[in-house]
Symmetry: D2
């Protein structure tokens, strides 16, 4: 890297994954709009052609006159090749295919277990983790060997266990995980500010929050805009919309988009616990007992959120791949939309180009009280000159912490099970998941079936079938 006039040149970014296009294009967009940094992006995906496509799309973007950030994109045939010399590593893989995910999400339905996402916790999240952890063991070992000083940004789910695995394998790694769910909650607070106080269009960055919890089950116990205490504002907002739900966009509501919700789960949690759950309702619902919000499709409808099917994901991927073709051959022009992601701002801050405070997922070194040291948690942190330092964020109320710890311990158990390939340990996590509210016998049948469906990624396991 070279520094001149407040700019940094010759940065090397390794991008692992990207075959499903979405996140890779977001990165290209944000890099294209930023003039203070430049260098090379090395693309690696288990599907080399996908990486090649992105190489072509990225390079043609770099050649455009309206693009300020000039990067060279280069597809790599091996993980090692992409990592060598990297200053930053971005991990955004799909662990397995949507066929395995179909089993993760939908196999449990036979037993009355419904999942709105199925990639974080719940039976789907656990089995996905068992499949993903060995991949992250390999990635961590490769980083340790080829670029131990690189900063590593993970976008892959299950976020907590991906980051946790990186640190388990290579404790000195400089890794963190990023997710935009908290940003969405900041935007909701901005909407509440408009609705309750008539203050319009406050950007989410000006909503100052204290964040604590784990990814997709993160909480805000203090929120402020200038002199306004947003906890009070939110309370009024919740009371107003608890029954009807709050629908922020007429064209894009929870009934016809399985990704959005009317925030009723979030409101219900606020009324019970007094602090703000800071993730989408689809995620939140999966962290608490299944009989609360996910008992059956009817209950889900009452709480006004959607169950994202894997079929929808498959169709969506198809659309992206078609778009990829068009972009590649220049039939479609790459649009530089607002991505809402912070990766590039984080990179700049780590390069010393201005400090940044934002929420990230890293091991608990004491930033949260009441959660075991080493567990991966989500809080604010300060990015400043090659340092990432978490901000002390206090502790959750006991009744919320109890819900969080159940997942934290389950995640630790899942990690150990994956590393030891220990069926019993894994099953003990499975039956302790709040969505697995079925008999021990049924749980065993379901677990066996789900493992069977993903067994090609469970090398070395003794499956009990």
């Amino acid at each position: 890297m070279r520094y001149t006039d407040g700019k940094v040149h010759d940065i090397t970014i390794a991008y692992i994954g990207g075959g499903s296009r979405g996140w890779a294009w977001n990165l290209m967009t944000d890099l294209a709009k930023e003039e203070s940094i430049s260098g090379t992006v090395k693309l690696y995906d288990i599907d080399y052609d996908a990486a090649r496509d992105n190489e072509i799309i990225g390079n043609s973007l770099s050649m455009r006159q309206d693009v300020k950030g000039k990067w060279l994109y280069k597809a790599c045939e091996t993980l090692e090749e992409s990592l060598k010399g990297a200053d930053f590593v971005i991990i955004s893989i799909l662990p397995g295919t949507f066929d395995e995910m179909e089993s993760d999400v939908h196999a449990p339905e036979k037993y009355g277990i419904y999942q709105s996402v199925g990639d974080t916790v719940g039976p789907g999240g656990i089995v996905r983790a068992l499949r993903t952890i060995p991949m992250f063991v390999d990635i961590a070992n490769a980083i340790k060997e080829h670029c131990p000083n690189a900063w590593v940004i993970n976008y892959t789910n299950p976020m907590t266990l991906c980051v946790r695995t990186l640190y388990e394998v290579f404790p000195q790694i400089k890794a963190f995980g990023c997710c935009h769910e908290v940003f969405g909650t900041q935007k909701l607070l901005s909407r509440a500010l408009q609705d309750v106080e008539g203050i319009n269009d406050v950007p989410r960055e000006e909503i100052k929050i204290n964040v604590l919890g784990i990814n997709h089950f993160t909480w805000i116990d203090n929120a402020r805009y200038k002199d306004i205490d947003l906890m009070h504002v939110y309370k009024q907002f919740v009371n107003k919309y608890y029954e009807t739900g709050f629908i922020s966009d007429a064209n894009d509501n929870w009934m016809n988009n399985s990704f959005v919700s009317a925030e009723r789960v979030k409101f219900d949690l606020f009324l019970r616990y007094g602090i703000i759950a800071a993730a989408g309702d689809r995620h939140l619902a999966e962290f608490v007992p299944g009989y609360w919000y996910l008992k059956d499709p009817e209950t889900v409808r009452e709480w006004m959120f959607g169950l994202t099917t894997v079929n929808w994901r498959k169709e969506d991927l198809k659309r992206r791949l078609e778009r990829s073709k068009r972009l590649k051959i220049g039939e479609e022009k790459f649009e530089l939309k607002e991505t809402g992601e912070e990766g590039v701002r984080q990179i700049k801050a780590l390069l010393g180009l201005g400090d940044l405070v934002t929420n990230v997922n890293i091991p608990n070194y004491g930033q949260i009280e009441g959660i075991p040291y080493g567990a991966v948690v989500e809080t604010n942190a300060l990015f400043s000159g090659n340092k990432l330092k978490p901000i002390l964020s206090g502790k959750l109320p006991d009744n919320v912490n109890s819900l969080v710890l159940r997942q934290v311990y389950n995640q630790e158990t899942t990690l150990k099970a994956a590393l030891k390939k220990d069926y019993n340990l894994a099953f003990s996590a499975f039956v302790n998941d709040p969505l697995v509210a079925i008999s021990l016998k049924d749980a065993k049948k379901l677990f066996n079936e789900m493992l069977e469906n993903t067994k090609k990624y469970l090398d070395g396991w003794e499956l009990k079938v």
Copy 2:
């Protein structure tokens, strides 16, 4: 107190409760058999006549020639009177009556929630706690005022919250809680030794164990008899009897006695977690999700344990009261049976008459890792010369700790709710209980009904009915 020739005279014991007779008679029995200590037992019960009956029974026992331990029994009209000058305080009350307990245990059945005991956790345990905590606030305050240096032994359930309340109100209190469930598991290990190794009649005191957890959900992670590792012995024992259950006494098995079990729950937990759950199956089943062992009466039968009805308790009490009458007028002779309790041995050790190591319930000062400081936990402790020092007992495996912590946090929340008379807090504990595996709506209805049934003990609460 006076010490002469290895004996201690003029000890004052305050006995709070005892109206239901059982525990009071156990104490009388153990005192009668011990010659090294003597003094006065001051009896207090909200039913003064009950205390008077015990006074008469106790004093006539003291006058018997075959009785070595001579004590003066004295009924007191007020709590204060009984506490003044006490060196030891024993608390063994029934919080409310069996009518409230009937609601605790059986009201949830309408919603498909079955409880085998209903006095510790579960909907019954939580509501019982809300009723009991104010009583223990009063007792703690009275001890603080009248006998702050006394040793306080609690036998009342919910054990954890009773002891926790005493320390919350009066942090300098010298209190601990005793329960014999762990002893029962030591006896089971002795039976396993006989069954597997052919070594007969090993007394439970020679089964050396490491104990950790919370009352009625305590665990043994290390057990030894001389050079024999009992963890291995127990494993063989479990494998042998997992399917059939182990029935220790032909005349008193789980089918016709709702207090005993065939240990299948304990065996199932061992197979999953690898360490020994050290309480009766009826208790253990209540600490884990209701759909595991308590889904319905049929499931309970499969796991071979009993649901103790409150009706049975009412009948049993009647029998004890009749016996009390006979004892009082001399129609029946008090028998000095083996009680299996340790209270008197603990008192002796605290008086400096020999050290004792046994399991007790006290706040966590670090004796268990992974459970918050201050939460009441059960581990071994050393009783020695006016000191009670817990023994460092290590930590539970993550998958077990998760189950334990869920209860620990629920108990802390219940305590705060009871002290603040906060309906919302209490409800948040209620819906987090593993037995309350029902919809949020039903949970609210049930909770309201149960509070209504015990409302005469909920002074100052705003009930939502």
Copy 3:
């Protein structure tokens, strides 16, 4: 307070102290230069005339056309009056007079104990603390009563014990302590950058550091300017100047100014411990055994720093009071120099006008590992929208932590001694101070003499003379 167009009006600041003018004028200066905030400054000093003088000086400053920040200054006759309605409280008092300080600093010289400052640790610092703590008990109680939600900024020494006392008396207080010693070290790093790398005039704010320790004995274990690791730069700098010392300003060197040094103590500590001590040498020397750098005036000269005499302070005060007179009657014009203080920037950040990361003194909530919770420590913290959140700063190397802990425990002991007015406790801190390297007998004589000299501030103590 009112917010309009990014400005905040009607702020109330209570300024406690200021009789010695210096800090009060700094605040006036910084307020005068800042246009985004305005309101009232209520001045309280035990010398009411001093407060009146400042009122006059402040108000005439506010009337000047070149002054952007318009504030109303108002002297108050009582502490209560000044605190009522305060949004911010600034504490900058002289505890006692320079007569007591003369004893603090110079009485120990008879026993061969030399102090370069004498207001933080050492015999002088301890006795000053015993005198100051009761004053801070009063201030904390008054804040608790009159403005419990105000932010409280302390500048008084001994910093650690002043802040610690505020939290001991009123744990919910929103207080922090500020000191510019770390800024000085950032400036030294900037000079090193110039000297070693030829990069000139880097402002201290761009020197990114990780700060940890206690006030006046703070350490930097990571320093960076853009991509340059300043730990390496500093190492070369130290090697170059270790023997000769580094004299930054020809006109103002350590030989003719008892406030500056040639940094040799700092360099020596770096060579031994490998991390950077971040305070002036005069302060640092007092935290380590007296026989290292303060054995006698000759040793001090060898290490090239100065012993600040109280006589000098008395003369200096005289000069300031004369200047005060001239300013008051308009004979001299108030100059708006760069103060180098951050108080006003912190106030703005707490008001929500932009985030700020800087070093402050607050209780340890986990921001430093290896120092007891609750002890007041100095690390970076994030100021953001009515919140002050410490940044996790890691742990000191064992050999440095040992030196720090000796002071931390001594400070805790001094606090308890002052609160309980316990001579024995206080003496146990005194003899554990690294500067008190004399026999127990002499230590007692010296301690008694020093207490005697400050006894008018030791109400309720039983002195042993």
Copy 4:
């Protein structure tokens, strides 16, 4: 091992060291008197002839009719041979020779540093540690390889660092360190009981104490005999004898025996700190600043204890070796005196032959609050059936903890220095030692000289001479 009728046969004990005879003979004595255990003692010493002598002496003892405990003694030529198959390992070596110890103890006298023992802390203790740690690295590795499940008992000084090294190298080791200094304090309490209360001849085992601290700087904060609070008794005792000292035995007082003292140091510490220092005065004096009790020989005389010279040790060794010769050829009969050691009782308890509570040195797992985890501390522990569980012992008062922590951190630094062979680290520990109250320049000269004198044991170090 075989268990029959409450006895254990075929035990294998490896005894490492013993060339200086004293401790080996104590073990032989205690084994000879105990009939419940038997087996083989494998003797290893770097001086094989010494081991052979002990073999002959031990076996002829075993053949005596009056000896109940029959053991076979067997000298081994290698460490490995002695460890193979061991159930217990006892380590009691002299690290280096008395020539190195002569430098440890007496070289510092040139700089006015006097040491009463010189084997634990102080310049002598640190240099001895640097020499000893590599030996314990070898022993730990050999145990890990040859008998990883053996219980390891260490008697070698510096106790803390020897045990700490064993755990550093082999964290799963089952090691603990034993020292009788606390027993001596129990005996002193028994004497106080006689002196103050007229109660004679109470055996030390009946003096119930709470013990906490580090070896040779251990403290008792609670002591009781039956209903008598010995803290009060001791207070009266101290007040009575503070000035004159307490001389327990007319023939063996501090003036003509450099091993005993008149307890004045202990009394002085009690008056200042309010708790009982539980080691001999010669040890205690070395843990606090040298200018307190060890300023010069005259000061030592005032405090009425002795400086043990290495010359005396050399003469004493000569006497033991002569006695060894006589014992070997039968010219002298081995006397079975009371040794006062507990090793054999500990071995019995670990074999399951009765529980034992006594003080030991093991890593801090939480048994002491306020001292870092992992540091080796001394508290009571429960020995019971192949388990050693520390007893939670609370925390030291801040002013005492400060003195203890200074040593704890110094020991950790010394350990790291020895493992890394890092001169700078070692020197930073050296100058932080409370006895090294000299200038940095002199400290360096002394340190270099002392390292030079022991350099044959400092393989791989770069000495700065």
